[in-house]
Symmetry: C2
Subunit: 155 residues, 2 copies
Amino acid sequence: MSSATMLLLFPSVTEKNMVKAKVTLQNNMQFTGTASSGHTLIMDAEHESGGQNNGFRPMELLLIGFGGCSGMDVISILRKKKQIVSGLEINVKGKKSGTAPKIYKEVHIEYVVKGKDVDKGAVERAIVLSLEKYCSVGATLAKTGAIMHSYRIVE
Amino acid sequence: MSSATMLLLFPSVTEKNMVKAKVTLQNNMQFTGTASSGHTLIMDAEHESGGQNNGFRPMELLLIGFGGCSGMDVISILRKKKQIVSGLEINVKGKKSGTAPKIYKEVHIEYVVKGKDVDKGAVERAIVLSLEKYCSVGATLAKTGAIMHSYRIVE
C-alpha cells in the first residue's frame, strides 16, 4: 500500500497510541481487513456458517496475535539476556465458550525455544515478564479466561 | 495448506470449540502465524521496536478481528431481514493504554452500510445484537475498555 493510500484510509494514524483497521465486505461472508501498518488479510466464515473458508476466522486472529505479541517479547528479552536462540515456535490453543458470545474460556500457550545452551531460568523469566507485564494481547485474553503456559527448550 | 499439513500442525483441530494457532519466528522480529483454518499471515514489529514492518502488529489483529466478527454478524442479520445491502465497510479505531500492558482502553467501531432503501431500524438492531450478544471479539475487547459504535447508511 502506498503512503498516499494509507493516508487516505487512515488520515490520523499518527495520533499517539491509536490503532486503526478498515474491514470491507467482498462477497458472501468474505471480508478484507487492512490495518494502520498497511497490511491486509482476508477473513471468511466456515462452510457451516455460510462462508467458504477463504480466510481467517476472526477469533483465530486473537490467538495468532497472542503468539506474535508474546513471541516478540520473549525473543527480545532472550536476546537482551545474550541467549543464542536459533528458533522460537509458539503454539496457542484456545477453548471457546459453548454459548454466544463464544469468547475464549481457556487459552494455553506453549513456547518451543531452540538453541544450544539456552538458560532455563532466562526462558522462564522472559515468559513470565511477557505474560504478566508486557503482552497486551495476553492481558486482553486474560480478562475472559484462564491463560496457561508451558515451554520446552530443544537443541 | 494441504489437509495433511494441517493435520500435522493441528492434530486435534476437530475438537469442539477448540481453535489453534502456530506462530514461528522467521528472523529479527518477524513471525508467521498459521491458524487452524489453514491460513497464514506475517507479523512484524515497527522500526522503532527493532522490526521492519513486514507484517501486522499483533494488536492490529484484534481490531481487524473485531471488524470481521461484527461485520459477519451484521451482514447475516441484515440478509435475514431481507435488506438489500450492496456494501458494508467497518472502520475500527482503538486507543491503547500509555503504559504496559498496552491494552485498548477505548474502541470505536463505525459501520458504513451501502444499499438502496436499507431500513435504519434493521441496521440498528443488527449492530446491537452483534455487540451485545454474538460478537466474541467485541465481547473480549469490552473487558478491557469502552466500546463505542456509530453507523451510516449510504446509497
